[in-house]
């Protein structure tokens, strides 16, 4: 129940799941007097889609930022895609932050050009396919789009890299339920079997069908790591129900 290592195969091909994608030991990060991550340990393999769950302020976003290499001044050992967070790891990690990180005035085609120019693992054909799948046009400007449409563009680009690890921070928050399903379908469309997708979310119910495993956090630490099927069988409830059960104290 409190194990912080995930090594057993999930839904996807067992042969592809022998590599460690993320290894974190004693990770601590403070924001002034507030401890956001408190000696966190975590090991995650490749070849899975893993949900990162927890209440507000438990450190999910901080963990993803550290892994993505955009948050310094932390202690502990972090390895992602075989590298410490930095230029080498960023070549193998696709990060989708919980923010509109593309220029407002840019057309979709210009954003595609940015990815093509900077990321050698960017698959332009896959991006075009995903953009079409989401019902968007490359001539559209981001500032003319709704939040859901912008999210689709960002996901199409982030998922079109042939990365080892995808770090997705709240990819479907603030999007209506119908759009959520389309986005989730797009996320897993043509996904490489040997990559790790690590997704933070509050929308457990929507994400549950695509998850192989979950990591639950509380107070900057990993509370629970487990495979979705095992946890469902062990607790005789869905992951959504388990989430409500575990975190009901903080909702009061």
């Amino acid at each position: 129940m409190t194990a912080q290592t995930l090594t057993e195969p999930g839904r996807r091909d067992e042969e592809t799941m022998t590599h460690t994608a993320i290894e974190v030991r004693g990770l601590t990060k403070n924001y002034g007097a507030v401890r956001a991550l408190d000696g966190l340990d975590l090991t995650l393999p490749t070849g899975q889609i893993i949900g990162l769950l927890g209440e507000n302020g438990c450190g999910k976003t901080t963990l993803l930022k550290v892994l993505a290499g955009v948050l310094a001044n932390h202690s502990g050992d972090v390895s992602i895609a075989g590298h410490r967070p930095g230029p080498e790891s960023k070549a193998h990690v696709s990060f989708l932050p919980d923010a509109s990180f593309l220029p407002d005035h840019a057309k979709v085609s210009e954003c595609v050009r940015m990815y093509r120019d900077f990321f050698s693992d960017f698959d332009e054909a896959k991006a075009a396919d995903l953009i079409e799948f989401f019902g968007l046009e490359q001539s559209m400007r981001l500032k003319e789009m709704s939040k859901g449409m912008r999210e689709k563009v960002q996901i199409a680009l982030a998922m079109s890299r042939q990365a080892t690890v995808y770090l997705l921070d709240e990819p479907i928050s603030g999007v209506d339920p119908a759009a959520r399903q389309v986005i989730l379908d797009g996320m897993v469309r043509n996904l490489s079997e040997d990559s790790l997708v690590f997704i933070s979310t509050h929308l457990v119910h929507d994400l549950e069908p695509i998850l192989d495993s979950v990591v639950l956090m509380r107070h900057g630490k990993v509370l629970l790591v487990g495979e979705v099927d095992d946890l469902r069988a062990q607790h005789n409830m869905s992951i959504d129900q388990l989430f409500r059960e575990v975190y009901q104290w903080s909702a009061r």
Binding site: Y31, K65, V70, L71, N73, K90, P97, S100, P103, F118
Partner: protein
């Protein structure tokens, strides 16, 4: 990769730079035209307008570059920049190089705009034959200063604008580190005010500690002269020469600011 980074710097900044260059040109031309009419009030307003266009242009360009640097590195779009598989220092050098190129072009354009403003305002300022007067002033300057000194002074002006950019970028980077990143743009603004005060003190110290100045030599030409700036200040005298003590201070501080900003890019990036 540096080429690609600079290409995207150009693509990202071209819109607002076009607007700033266009507006400055429009304001200066309009002002010069109004001044040229010689009509009472209109011409006086024109003189003010054209010189506002000239005077504000470079400052607006450099502040705009600093804001764009902060926004593309540490605000929302900073997530893209900081996720690139490139060493932070390489991104910084590319941004600084592009900023210097833009500044250089803006300086040249500012000279052109200043010329337009001067010609338009000449009659209002009772300057007859403005071009001849300009030529005479230029010739007069060359009589006092050797050509190499004129080139040196022009280069010093350009480099001082580059140093200003280095200071802005330093403030943006240090003000966005973990201690202040929750303040948003407030962090860089605070750091810049602090840096401004420190720089003023350091420059004054340099002028006082290094008693060298550019002044009139025994033959009437320009020469390096000794100047005790402290006694000039204490005795409330006129210096009569341009102190040079600020030059090594500015050069050294710029080198320090650049190296600290590189450290920030390589090891201290903390996006809020």
């Amino acid at each position: 990769m540096v080429g690609t980074l600079i290409k995207h710097e150009a693509l990202r900044t071209r819109r607002w730079l076009t607007v700033v260059f266009g507006l400055a040109t429009l304001v200066t031309l309009m002002g010069a035209l109004m001044a040229w009419t010689g009509w009472p009030l209109i011409s006086q307003l024109g003189v003010i307008l054209s010189f506002v266009g000239v005077g504000a242009f470079l400052a607006v360009v450099q502040v705009g570059l600093a804001y764009d640097y902060w926004r593309s590195s540490y605000s929302k779009t900073g997530y893209f920049t900081q996720s690139l598989p490139v060493k932070g220092a390489t991104i910084y050098w590319s941004k600084l190089l592009w900023g210097c190129v833009v500044t250089l072009v803006a300086i040249v354009w500012n000279v052109v705009l200043a010329l337009v403003a001067y010609l338009g305002s000449a009659s209002s300022m009772r300057v007859t034959e403005p071009l001849s007067q300009l030529r005479a002033a230029w010739t007069g300057m060359l009589e006092i200063l050797p050509a190499v000194a004129v080139i040196g002074l022009a280069l010093a002006v350009v480099v001082s604008f580059f140093a200003t950019l280095v200071q802005y970028y330093f403030a943006a980077s240090i003000g966005s580190e973990s201690r202040m990143n929750r303040l948003g743009i407030g962090g860089p603004v605070l750091v810049w005010f602090g840096l401004y005060l420190v720089m003023q003190m350091l420059l004054l110290l340099g002028i006082v500690a290094i008693p060298l100045a550019l002044g009139s030599g025994s033959d009437g030409g320009l020469a390096l002269v000794s100047l005790n700036f402290l006694s000039v200040m204490v005795e409330n005298q006129t210096a009569g020469a341009m102190p040079l003590g600020f030059v090594p201070v500015l050069a050294l501080s710029t080198a320090v600011l650049v190296s600290r900003t590189v450290v920030s890019w390589n090891r201290k990036v903390s996006l809020a």
